[in-house]
């Protein structure tokens, strides 16, 4: 058998062997790069589902939800979640549209949650909350006294909700704004994401 007859076979075997030996390096070099870097933020109901969120709220009754964050930023992130409450007329945060137009609500935070989440992992925490409020018949509005969130009682004496004659209810929004710590500037900035619960405060 001459070398000429087996030249193709010889070259094929040489190249296959070379590729096999180079495969550890190729596996690192031929990886499709990640192009999308983002954070997920969600609320799930007490059964870890999306079909039984608290809506009709009774005074001093406990309600449970799960708050979750999924980190797809490519690095370990330091998140802050600001828990806020607003009525129909107060400013809401914006999470959609051009990035420059996404702003947090100007309302003060009632509660802060800190979370450190590694890349490609999720973080989730149970939240149990209840509202203490009363109905002012003269002014026809709901007046809040406090919010209890995970056994921490927060003063809400400045908060009121007036009757919504169109939708027929006293509607409030408990919402969660996501902020992220920027290591370069050593400060937290709004991460352009928020989720919330629309609540009907029942008075009878």
């Amino acid at each position: 058998m001459s070398l000429y007859e087996h030249r193709v076979l010889f070259l094929t075997v040489t190249w296959i062997l070379a590729f096999l030996v180079a495969s550890p390096a190729l596996s690192r070099l031929l990886v499709f790069p990640r192009t999308e870097f983002f954070t997920e933020l969600w609320i799930l109901d007490s059964n870890h589902r999306v079909d039984d969120y608290p809506f009709n709220v009774t005074r001093n009754q406990d309600y449970s939800v799960f708050l979750g964050i999924g980190n797809r930023l490519g690095y370990c992130a330091y998140y802050l979640v600001e828990v806020k409450f607003r009525n129909q007329t107060q400013p809401a945060p914006t999470s959609f549209g051009p990035p420059a137009n996404r702003t947090p609500s100007s309302l003060p935070a009632l509660f802060n949650i800190t979370a450190f989440v590694a890349d490609e992992t999720v973080w989730e925490t149970p939240l149990t909350f209840s509202f203490d409020y009363g109905y002012n018949e003269i002014l026809s509005r709901v007046e809040f006294y406090s919010l209890t969130l995970n056994n921490v009682k927060v003063d809400m004496s400045d908060y009121t909700i007036t009757w919504d004659s169109e939708k027929r209810g006293f509607f409030g929004y408990l919402f969660f704004e996501l902020w992220i710590f920027n290591a370069a500037t050593n400060s937290s900035q709004y991460h352009e994401r928020s989720v919330g619960l629309r609540l009907n405060m029942t008075v009878y």
């Binding site: 070398l3 070379a18 180079a22 550890p24 390096a25 509660f111």
Partner: protein
């Protein structure tokens, strides 16, 4: 008579002074407690930021930071409680939570730096063996193939075989 009135007046003044001093002492204690809590809170916040930056560097170096993140989340939760207690005016609890948060991070940066060093070392050897080593190996295989083919060709030419 005058002497009796004077002694009563002195007694009243002494009582007033004692009451006033107690009030001022309690105000001063409250202020120092608030200052102490604020200082502990600022210190705990600084410790959390330093710890996060150390974790970030270790993570960038490819270290497994999951254990560190558990501790950091615990410290963060304590810091959250400290902030809330401070806002509610419960300075003793704020101080307690802030101190506990800081204690949770004792030796944290050193540990993160050690993990980072180990990860960098591991990364270096991984690069040397799996990237540089395999590229050099592949080049050797190709060169070896060329040399073998050249030697076989020469051998065939010597023996008179027709090798093209």
């Amino acid at each position: 008579m005058l002497r009796k009135a004077f002694s009563v007046l002195t007694f009243v003044f002494m009582l007033l002074f004692a009451a006033a001093s107690q009030f001022f002492v309690s105000v001063t204690v409250a202020e120092s407690s608030e200052d102490e809590a604020a200082s502990a809170l600022a210190s705990a916040e600084g410790a959390v930021v330093s710890a996060y930056q150390a974790v970030l560097k270790a993570d960038e170096a490819g270290a497994n930071v999951s254990g560190l993140l558990v501790r950091l989340n615990e410290a963060g939760e304590l810091l959250t409680h400290a902030r809330m207690a401070y806002r509610l005016g419960d300075f003793d609890s704020a101080l307690d939570f802030a101190v506990r948060s800081r204690e949770r991070l004792n030796g944290f940066v050193v540990e993160a730096d050690a993990l980072r060093g180990a990860a960098m070392q591991e990364h270096y050897w991984d690069f040397m063996v799996n990237v540089a080593g395999s590229i050099v190996g592949a080049v050797c295989v190709v060169c070896g193939g060329i040399v073998v083919r050249f030697l076989l060709k020469r051998k065939h030419e010597r023996t008179g075989s027709m090798v093209k």
